[in-house]
């Protein structure tokens, strides 16, 4: 029964999760080999910088770039060998009733879908956890799992555009985009963090708290965007060279009318308080949360994107910012208070307001990118990306020799960890084969994993 819920949920999440990490690395082994940096004008640049709608598409680091790139999902082959779908009902990976079921492993699967081949897997905590309980003593030793306890505020978030349908005339583009945003933040107070992470004994007459703020909202947004080339570079006037044909300054903007389908938000502290001695009386549970849910769809709001790009010969730089002023007004919201009832040792839910107006915001995202082709087959690029959370930085380089290419790069990910990538490629006629190796911390582990990505490019 539970498997029947988990598996579809897992598949759904697997479809959704790659989108927020798209800006960090894509399904393109060339980009992965450069630690996630994009040297071209692929979907990521257009997604976050509307000015790129006016720039001629160039999906790679130079002329003669592929029309399409197809990932080779070697990781899926391995995954389905290890976890045949016909056995998912009894597979410990998906079966909470199995003694070997590991929720961390399942979460890692969601956070890091097994599309590519894992050269080095991040370890999954499988250790024992130990509680020492006495009348005036409580010690929690989480063993290796202590690394799962964040040192600072911990959050998960995604602000994705799930589709982009539309039609353009000249520099104007009309379309509809879907959006999905979730932001989940946990903040343990220092005392609780020390108890869980440092195995510090619970102290008598103390309170331990965790603050949670979570919001989920989704909907769609009719959009009108405009992109225009403002200037032509001197080399671009009548230029035959592909290098200089795109020279100029580009600007773009988009106005979105957000129509939220639904949203929910929960805010509040939770925790426990102990007396002296600790188990002299039952520890008290602290819970006083507020939940907001939309009764009706069509939360409304207006926001926009702006962007600028400048291309001069081998040099290119762009900056785009999304969802400026994106605040949705939900006209019909229910607000509930969720409290712990010590008398009944139960959770009580009461409605404090109904059919009231509330507001939510979408986080502002930005992407700054730059690249330079150095004329010797070398292209160097970098980008800085932020989607309302920690800034991600990528820097990468590609060196081409005739049909061959070598790539490398470094990145700082959302967890502020350095990641590395390297790769190579060969082009044979209309097809190219690329491999990229990258390290990542996309799992619930402090240890980096290393993944081998492969893709075929069609020229």
């Amino acid at each position: 029964m539970r498997t029947g819920v988990i598996v579809p949920a897992l598949l759904a999440l697997t479809l959704v999760v790659p989108r927020p990490v798209h800006a960090q690395f894509s399904l393109d082994a060339r980009r992965i080999g450069m630690a996630g940096v994009s040297l071209g004008r692929d979907g990521s640049a257009r997604r976050y910088n509307p000015a790129y709608r006016a720039v001629k598409n160039r999906s790679g680091g130079g002329p003669g770039q592929p029309k399409v790139t197809i990932p080779i999902p070697l990781g899926l082959i391995t995954f389905f060998q290890d976890h045949p779908p016909t056995h998912w009902g009894s597979d410990p990976m998906f079966n909470p009733d199995d003694s070997a079921f590991n929720p961390v492993e399942l979460m890692n699967l969601v956070l890091n879908p097994p599309l590519f081949y894992e050269l080095k897997r991040a370890p999954t905590p499988t250790n024992d956890i130990e509680f020492t309980i006495g009348k005036n003593q409580l010690i929690m030793n989480l063993g290796q799992s202590r690394v799962l306890i964040p040192e600072q505020k911990f959050g998960l978030g995604m602000n994705g555009r799930l589709l982009d349908l539309g039609y353009g005339v000249g520099g104007v583009h009309f379309g509809v985009m879907g959006f999905m945003n979730y932001e989940i933040e946990f903040a343990l107070d220092t005392a609780l963090r020390r108890v869980l992470r440092d195995t510090v004994p619970v102290q008598p007459d103390s309170t331990y708290r965790i603050l949670t703020d979570a919001v989920v909202q989704t909907g769609f947004m009719p959009t009108v965007s405009f992109a225009q080339r403002l200037t032509h570079g001197t080399g671009a006037v009548g230029a035959d060279s592909t290098e200089s044909a795109d020279d100029g300054l580009y600007i773009g903007g988009a106005v979105h009318y957000y129509l939220g389908a639904t949203y929910a938000r929960g805010v509040g502290p939770a925790g426990f308080t102990v007396g002296n001695p600790i188990f002299g009386a039952a520890p008290g549970v602290l819970l006083d949360a507020r939940a907001q849910t939309s009764n009706k769809p069509f939360g409304k709001g207006v926001g926009g994107d702006v962007g600028v790009a400048w291309i001069s010969g081998p040099f290119e730089v762009g900056f785009g910012i999304n969802d400026l002023g994106a605040e949705l007004t939900w006209s019909d919201t229910k607000i509930q208070r969720i409290q712990y009832d010590a008398v009944g040792d139960s959770i009580s839910v009461s409605t404090t307001a109904n059919h009231v107006e509330t507001k939510t915001k979408l986080p502002v995202s930005y992407l700054a990118n730059a690249a330079i082709r150095m004329g010797t087959g070398t292209t160097v690029g970098g980008d800085v990306f932020n989607a309302g959370r920690h800034t991600v930085i990528h820097v990468g380089v590609e060196q081409r020799w005739s049909l061959f290419a070598l790539r490398g790069g470094v990145a700082r990910d959302q967890r502020k960890k350095m990641q590395f990538g390297f790769g190579a490629g060969v082009r044979l006629g209309a097809f190219g084969l690329d491999v990229g190796v990258f390290t990542h911390s996309s799992t619930l582990s402090e240890t980096r994993a290393m993944t081998l990505a492969t893709s075929i490019s069609v020229y």
């Binding site: 079921f101 929720p103 999954t124 905590p125 009348k135 063993g143 520890p283």
Partner: protein, 178 residues
């Protein structure tokens, strides 16, 4: 308490595959209540026993778990004999309720120790309870009866008190809490 224990279970579930281990300092719950001290009085040429019952609260939700082991890892008592000579031992009984501990089979039998006159004899209490009490330790609470048993082969009364000085039960579970 239930909600607090559920919070503990969340921690357990969040930490992946492995064992949940509970080291329960039973003595700490007995101290200050008088239950850690068991007076004994054994007339000549008789056997007698005296006991005390203590409830142990366990985290709920482990009903489906597999109990790997239940052991007394740290246990000791002092036999503070104030007169007479004989032998004294300890027995531990576990049950789902207090009354059941009087009909339950012996879970642990500590061999007899000789006492003579006014003296204090330290006794070690340890042993593996696995298999005998596994199902009880999957419940929310379990009752334990500690009995001091003795025989008097002398001509004067054997009197004194047995005082528990340490008692830690270690329960190892393969947690299945969903």
């Amino acid at each position: 308490m239930k909600a607090f224990a559920v919070a503990l279970l969340v921690v357990v579930s969040a930490c992946g595959q492995g064992h949940a281990i509970f080291n329960i300092d039973v003595l700490s719950f007995m101290q200050g209540t008088g239950k850690d001290t068991i007076p004994y009085f054994i007339p000549p040429a008789t056997s007698a026993s005296a006991s005390t019952v203590q409830s142990i609260t366990l985290p709920p939700g482990f009903g489906s778990s597999v109990v790997d082991s239940v052991r007394i890892t740290i246990g000791s008592a002092n036999l503070v004999n104030t007169g007479g000579s004989g032998t004294m031992g300890f027995q531990l009984f576990f049950a789902a309720d207090s009354a059941g501990t009087y009909t339950a089979p012996v879970a642990l039998n500590v061999p007899n120790t000789a006492v003579n006159g006014v003296q204090t004899v330290a006794v070690s209490i340890s042993g593996d309870l696995s298999g005998l009490v596994d199902s009880l330790f999957r419940q929310d609470s379990v009752f334990m009866r500690v009995a001091t048993t003795g025989t008097n082969n002398g001509l004067t009364n054997v009197t004194g008190t047995s005082i528990l000085t340490a008692l830690v039960i270690r329960v190892v579970l393969q947690d299945k809490i969903f």
